[in-house]
């Protein structure tokens, strides 16, 4: 059964490059941001819900997992918008590195997400489904709290984890220092331990601390606070489980999100699991739209 599916995916990818999509770059500056951000917009009309697909930590909309999702659903007839969070870099187009200067905050990211939702609405899309990958899922979650825009019909959260927790390598002492510095008005950048950027995450304390609000409990809490349906798609072979434990899947499953796990898939659903991801998301979207 998987072989024909892969064949279809391969053909779809070939078609993506062979057929000219009506993709265009959209530039947008959130009202609270200092810089403009950009997004890849593929307009397939308004017959179906528009899909807003958000990349993960430090990535862009060109990240393979994100781009493949956008391309797949654009070919499937959906209008898709894949914004790249500016991270306070004008028209950012490249992934940021751990040791890049991080001055952006979670609030700025949320504001940009909301700005893009507003933009979609302005484009006449009243039904929007948000799809997030990794920390993009967390940002979308945070953006729906406390109020979810009316146009948002559902959240599809892939590889959903959290950003703060001792199991992730965060040091309480470091957090305390950052908090102290910030309280002292010293927002000078310094290197922190953050996710996979161990001792290498150059960020202002403000930036650093803003993302640490997304704790394990916060994620579960925001899921439960959502007034729209949320779906979580996880890979069973995600390496993050070595830090957060398999328990995380059960905790998610216990929350209000509808969890589905793709067996063998890693954090980025690479390889044969990419198609499975698309199938699962498509099933979810069909499920959403059929309601």
């Amino acid at each position: 059964m998987t072989m024909p599916k892969y064949l279809v995916l391969t053909l779809c990818n070939l078609l993506l490059f062979a057929l000219p999509l009506q993709a265009k770059q959209v530039i947008l500056q959130a009202s609270t941001s200092h810089v403009e951000g950009q997004a890849r917009y593929l307009d397939n009309g308004h017959n179906r819900p528009a899909l807003l697909i958000l990349h993960g930590f430090s990535a862009t909309h060109n990240y393979p997992t994100v781009q493949a999702l956008q391309d797949y659903f654009s070919l499937s007839g959906f209008t898709t918008l894949a914004p790249t969070l500016s991270l306070q870099i004008p028209l950012r187009s490249q992934p940021v590195q751990c040791n890049s200067l991080h001055t952006h905050t979670l609030q700025q990211d949320i504001a940009e997400v909301n700005a893009w939702i507003d933009w979609l609405e302005q484009q006449g899309h009243q039904d929007i489904i948000l799809i997030g990958h990794s920390s993009g899922s967390q940002t979308l979650l945070e953006a729906m709290i406390p109020h979810t825009p009316k146009s948002i019909k559902a959240l599809i959260l892939t590889s959903l984890f959290y950003l703060n927790g001792e199991e992730l390598g965060n040091l309480e002492s470091e957090i305390q220092i950052a908090q102290d510095l910030l309280s002292q008005g010293n927002n000078a950048p310094r290197k922190f331990n953050f996710l996979f950027c161990q001792n290498d995450y150059l960020a202002t304390p403000e930036s650093y601390l803003s993302y640490l609000t997304i704790t394990r409990a916060r994620v579960l809490e925001t899921i439960n606070q959502l007034d729209i349906p949320s779906y979580s798609v996880m890979g069973s072979a995600d390496s993050r489980y070595t830090q957060v434990g398999e328990k995380w899947l059960r905790e998610l499953n216990a929350s209000q999100t509808e969890l589905s796990v793709i067996e063998g898939a890693n954090h980025f659903f690479t390889g044969e699991h990419e198609g499975l991801l698309h199938d699962r998301v498509e099933v979810i979207i069909n499920k959403i739209t059929s309601k």
Partner: protein, 743 residues
Amino acid sequence: MNPSISAKHVLIGFMTLALTLLLTANFGLYFQGKNIQSSVHETAQIEAQKELFSAIDRNFHMIDQQLKKLTEWDEVHQQLNQPSYYYYWRDQRLAESEFFQPYYVELDLYQADQIKLSHLVKDHAQAAEVLPKQLNTQTRYFLIQPPNRDYLIVSRAVHSRQDPSQVIGYVAIAIDFFKLLQQDNQFYYLDFAYLHFNRSGFIAMHQLKDALEYRAISNPVSDHLWSLIEEFVTKFALIILITTLLVFGFIKLIFLDPLQRLTKFVKNLRHQAQTDPTQEKSAFLLQEYQNLQNQLTDYHQALLEAQAQLSQQNQQLWQISRTDPLTEVYNRRAFDDAWQALLKQYASQSISIAYMLFDCDHFKALNDTYGHQVGDQLIKISAQTLQRSFPAGQHIYRIGGDEFASIVIDKNIDEIEKIAQKALSDLISYPFVQLDIKEKVSFSVGVGYANANQPIENIEVLPRQADIAMYKAKHSPHNKVHFYQHEHDTLNQSLVSNKRLNQVLNAAYTGQNICLHYQPILNIETQAIYYEALVRLQFDDETVFPADIFTIIAHHRLEVELDQQILNYLLSQLQNQKLPPNIGLSVNISAKTLLQPFIIDLFEPFLAYLTQHKIVIEITESVLIEHIQDVSFVLNKLRRQGFLIALDDFGSGYSSIRYLANMPVDIVKFDMTLTHALDADLKTQRLIQSTAHMIREAGYELVMEGVETQQQLEQATQAGATNIQGYFIGKPSFKPNPPGLVA
């Protein structure tokens, strides 16, 4: 004489030439190699230059690419947009980013107004920063800060992503230029360690080529090889030099020095042979030189011995050449030498000189009569007698057949006369009868004497004066010792008369004033007449006769010239028919002319007249006797041609009648003394008649000269003469007149 060069100079020249050629070739090769090395170096330099600037271009391109990427880097845009934490970004992030290259010394961002971002932060400026606070218009230049900070400064504008036409800032990099070159390039020709700038401060791009000092990397193999070549060339030159010196020294020591010693040895042999004939020999290394020296010594010794023998023989020869072999007294050569030496000596030592001549009277007749052996004995005894008679140490010279001479100096005339008289006395008192000579042998002495302090001219004439004195003595029956007196010059007046001398000499040379007088000769039997042509010199006021003519001619030895002029005159008489037809003519020819090789040619023009004229050639008795062999051929040839030969003056000397049988003559002419002797005693008459009879019997015609009377005519006829000549028949006249007294 060809200029010769010493062996030493030849050796030095040869060695110098060889050394020059070898060194020239050696250094020629060296400089050829140097040129090749220079060419290689130039090629390497060009390659190094190409390599360097190719690397520079490539690195500039790479830097441009890096700059381009930097200007497109999100974080650059981030910092230009929000530079609050630029300082942290630049110092912490930038250096760790993939964009920051190891050869970057500094990377800075500038605002759109070209002010450095880092300078916006208060108290931030760092003295060590290379990039300027504000960018200039040059996007690429060099900043050289000695000693070792050589920066390439590049910058590029960063354009707004929303509005690409808007410059939002700049990226500038200070690059360690040499580190950059070293980082990405591999140099094979360029000596990178040497590469440096030759100036400091700001260097624009167009100044780069001039500002960069570079060179090709040295090739260790080539350099080593070249150093080996240089070492070889130097050593080779040294070897050549040393070898040349060694060869020179060797040749000099082994060959040249011995040669010079040999040369010196030979020179010493030449110059010291007499003083040091046993000079010390050198020792030679080479056996050949030693042998050569020994051989030279032996040869020289043999040469000395040969020279001594030769000298002795020369001395003997010299002695022989100056000694008369018959008499063993000095000969004519020795006398001439002695006389010439005396003349030279006289210039410094003017002393009295006596030139003495001794002569045996009628020696030829004695010789012919008694034979040569008796004649030789007579001469020998005469010499010995004179030698004994003369004072000791006084030399006697034999200067002619029977003629002796002596030179006595520093004696007065009385002493000389005593010497002469004593010598004459000793001679005539010698008993020559021992030699079976029946007649009394007489001698004549002629002396030329000059007192001391006479001019040299007076000395030089002494031989002639002695001759004159001798002549005088010969013709004197009693006074047989004659000293030359000044009055004797009258005897030889023609010799001292310039006028006469000039007349005779001019006639002999030109033929002018010569004329012939003709004296008839009568054939007694047939009454036929022919004429003897006798020479005269005819001038307006006088006539010069033979006595004067022949004295001068004999003195100047012009007999041949005079005979030629006489024959020319006679020939012209015949040609011009000045003479009567069919007359016979007789002409005198001197002994000297008769001995000339052209004598036959001289008479050739007369051949045409032989048919009309009887032509008789008269010769003297002496030439026929003394040169019988030489003249016989000539006379016989003339006789065959039709000429008749007459022997003139027969009996004037002491000619031996034994010649008569074979004389190549046709006619014998008795001297007038024989004709006049027919008046003498009966014995003499008979002797002359017998002689005439023998002549006639031998087939000769006989002419008797000097017939001046009827009696003499009869006597001559009775004696057997076929022809007679004399005043009784006719005197010589300028025309051939027939005899007046003979009918």
